[in-house]
């Protein structure tokens, strides 16, 4: 046969081209900053991370997870066998039959991909992604036919040179997508970059059911701070961006996107790719940043990102709610990237929008965001008869009051919690005026210098006293204390349990140290604060507490790990980027749609945001406030 050499040659050539592309792509990633990665351990762990962790997320969409197992698994298997059977010409009927089976599997999967693409939801990118199912089908059919003679089903030479020629054209078409496209920037890139991203992830703690949500400290005192250009990212962050499959799950859950603010996490990640690979966003075929036309963004590895690639408003729209990260099947870290870029804007350019500059200045000069007198921090507790650590030096429980101390609404929550602790006879003390802002807002606004200064000073104060547990009603302070203060080389929190008040109260209730009456009000729903739920995995304690009052929580559609942000995180109310709607209003609609008369929360910021929604609306109460109103009066008092 004259043309028999053609298919293997095509396969070989495309494999070589893919190899060249892979090296080029890796060089793009390597332009990023150095970051220590355990390469071998990562590579060994990769299959497990794929099968277990990644699929755990994909599983949330059952249709897609099965489709992907069939298509992806079938393809990988088929490709390996194609190399043996068709490139190296291994004559073995068993191999050929295995290849046929893999191709059938892949074909079935590809049919479902095709079906999904017939009427794709808006979150999916179109463009080249629309051609992918066709390429998948072409691949499986072509190699199926090509393998039939090897499997002994058809005699060698069936179809003559015409069939060989036709098959060769089809091989060229499908392999261009599957191999060449994989490393030269086609949709299949996600398989190549994704696998390596899983291996070299910057937060390996996330795999195996772990959690890693604390921001990494910025190095201070360098020639520049934060991420200005794509190459200022760590190399494995760049690799992570490349792993995006443009599935748009992040877009579907992003509160800022839904509110019409100029942010779409999927587009942001794609723009990062445009940045480090160089070029424009003209080929982007997904949803735009609301209100911003696609096609005008230009980027290059050494170009300042906010000069032409993305607008700084995009970065400031994010509430750091982590919904996108939670939802991303490729485990991409959007929030890290956004805060990295904010650091540049704040620490280098001094361009924190709206009230940002003033808030940061206040934090620096008064250790609280509103510029209140630090000497008035404990005024709220004038009638609370609380021990000060300064006087008692030690206590079982240190109550971290947070900046809610300055706010009249939050003070109601603080008092309620104190009353509950007193009812349970807890040995508790507060830091009083020695406590400083946790630094949460400063850090999310990109001012890591202010954050680190606060963290170090707070840790120095904490290290003077002894306590077993530290409890706070503020999930943001909770997150800082629990997940971020550990980076500053202090022993102050060593062996100390950091708890959110709902967790703490739940224990008290379980130990029967609080006597509570059954709640007899109307329907109640519960709003999971982002910094309690997604950041710290505490979904149960608040619900158990409500259940202990006999409340059957009427869950919102978006609750638990899918809870929608109240709009109050990440300094978003301070930078206040305009959109079409307010995030808090949308969340209140979620509440209303359950028919609840009251929404229970576990965060003063959520309380403030949700109470800011115009009435009539359900009542907003912190769980501590609800519990306190059900506190059984002691009979003999």
């Amino acid at each position: 046969m004259i043309l028999d050499w053609l298919p293997p040659t095509l396969i070989g050539v495309l494999l070589v081209l893919a190899g060249i592309g892979a090296i080029r792509r890796m060089n793009l990633w390597r332009a990023g900053q150095a970051e220590k990665v355990d390469f071998l351990a990562g590579l060994f762990a990769m299959p497990k991370r794929y099968l277990h962790d990644l699929h755990h997320v994909v599983e949330r969409d059952k249709y897609m997870s099965r489709t992907h197992v069939a298509t992806g698994g079938g393809f990988v298997l088929a490709m390996v066998l194609v190399v043996f059977v068709h490139l190296f010409g291994v004559k073995n009927e068993i191999l050929a039959w295995a290849l046929l089976a893999a191709l059938v599997l892949m074909f079935c999967g590809a049919l479902f991909v095709y079906k999904r693409r017939m009427n794709p939801p808006s979150r999916l990118s179109k463009g080249p992604w629309m051609r992918l199912p066709k390429s998948l089908l072409t691949f499986s059919i072509t190699f199926f036919v090509l393998t039939l003679p090897a499997a002994g089903i058809l005699p060698e030479g069936t179809g003559g040179w015409i069939l060989t020629l036709v098959l060769s054209v089809l091989i060229l078409m499908s392999l261009s997508e599957m191999l060449f496209g994989m490393t030269w920037g086609g949709p299949m890139k996600h398989a190549f970059a994704g696998a390596l991203h899983l291996a070299f992830h910057r937060r390996p703690e996330r795999f195996g059911g772990g959690r890693s949500t604390g921001l990494k400290p910025a190095a201070l005192g360098e020639a520049s701070h934060g991420v200005a250009k794509p190459t200022d990212f760590k190399w494995n962050q760049l690799l992570g961006f490349d792993a995006c499959v443009q599935c748009g799950r992040c877009e579907a859950v992003c509160p800022a996107f839904a509110a019409g603010q100029p942010l779409n996490p999927k587009k942001l990640i794609q723009d990062m790719v445009v940045g480090f690979a160089g070029g424009t966003d003209k080929k982007y075929a997904g949803s735009a940043y609301p209100g911003v036309e696609v096609g005008n963004a230009k980027g290059a590895p050494d170009q300042i990102i906010t000069n032409g690639l993305i607008s700084s408003d995009t970065l400031w729209s994010c509430t750091t709610c982590r919904a996108c990260v939670e939802e991303c099947p490729m485990m991409i870290e959007h929030v890290d990237a956004i805060v990295d870029m904010r650091r540049f804007l704040t620490l280098e350019k001094g361009e924190t929008p709206n009230k940002g500059a003033q808030v940061l200045e206040n934090i620096i000069a008064t250790d609280n965001p509103n510029g209140y007198s630090p000497a008035s921090r404990t005024h709220w507790a004038a009638d609370q008869n609380l021990n000060l650590m300064k006087d008692v030096k030690q206590a079982d429980v240190l109550f971290w009051v947070s900046d809610g101390a300055f706010d009249m609404r939050s003070q109601r929550i603080l008092r309620a919690f104190v009353k509950l602790m007193k009812a349970a006879n807890i040995d508790v003390a507060i830091l009083g005026d020695e406590e400083l802002d946790s630094g949460d807002v400063a850090r999310r606004l990109g001012d890591d210098a202010a954050f680190q200064s606060l963290a170090k000073r707070n840790l120095a104060t904490l290290s003077k006293y002894s306590f077993k547990t530290i409890v706070t009603t503020d999930p943001h302070a909770f997150h800082c204390l629990k997940n971020e203060y550990g980076d500053f080389g202090s022993d102050a929190l060593k062996g100390v349990e950091v708890l959110h008040h709902t967790t703490f109260l739940n224990r008290l209730v379980k130990e029967e140290r609080l006597q509570l009456d059954t709640f007899k009000g109307g329907k109640v729903t519960y709003h999971d604060p982002c910094y309690l739920g997604r950041y710290n995995g505490e979904y149960e304690a608040p619900r158990e507490l409500l259940a202990s009052l006999g409340i059957d929580v009427a869950e919102m559609e978006r609750s638990g790990y899918r809870s929608r942000c109240c709009g109050g995180g990440g300094g978003a109310p301070i930078t206040d980027i305009p959109g079409e709607r307010r995030i808090a209003d949308m969340r209140m609609e979620d509440v209303v749609s359950t028919g609840a008369e009251m929404v229970a929360v576990g965060c003063q910021q959520c309380t403030a945001m949700l109470e800011g929604v115009v009435e009539p609306r359900p009542v907003v109460k912190d769980i501590a406030e609800i519990l306190v109103s059900q506190l059984a009066e002691e009979v003999n008092s």
Partner: protein, 258 residues
Amino acid sequence: MPPKVNVVSLVSVGRHPQSGRSRRAEQDGRAVELGLKLSKKSLTVVHAGDSQEPVLRQYAGMGLDSLTVLPQAADGDALPVLVEFLKNSKAQVVLTGVRAESGESSGMLPYLLAEQLGWPLVPRVAEILTIKEGAAEVLLALPRGQRRSVIVSLPFIATVDNAAAEARQTAFGPGLRADLKVLNVESVTDDAMATWQISAAKPRPKRLKVVKAKTAADRMKAATAKPVGGGGKVMKNETAAEKAQAIFDLLLEEKVVR
């Protein structure tokens, strides 16, 4: 704005009204802002005092490449070193705050500087509109958002009012990297100050305002007005003696002179 004008902004260590902590002083920050707006290239920002003061980095973080320090001990007198410095510089416009937030806070420094240098002093500037042919057109801030435009010849000293543009955000990185040029000057002890007793200030009793406003607009006006004593009078055509008499009468009435 011709880039030729040499602007010097004088900065001091401010004091946060709530925490009492050092900070970038409100008005001095505005003086730097105004200087930056006039000409970023030929702006010199000068501090007489401790060169180790971290607050200087907050000024530098407004985008200054360098900041000049005339080192002075804590009991030093800023006036003589500043006069010396300005005499030897090519300064044409000197900007300061109206008064410092810490230390004596008398507001006298710009007047004494003007006196010793023999330059005109323009008080409470809101904006400098143009500088050309050796003269500047300056807007003075008057109560209730009113402005008065005056022309002043170079060189001059101006104090910057709170009505001037707010100081831009200070950025940590540039502030950290800015070059502190510490000049070699002698620290002059303020002998007068050594004899003073310093005690914490108490808020001054406020003059009671009897608001006789009838409409909301009037009340708004009364609430937002800067405190001005009684009914002021603009005297333009009277003789100097009459004007002096009017001032004297007012001082008597206000019990400044007895």
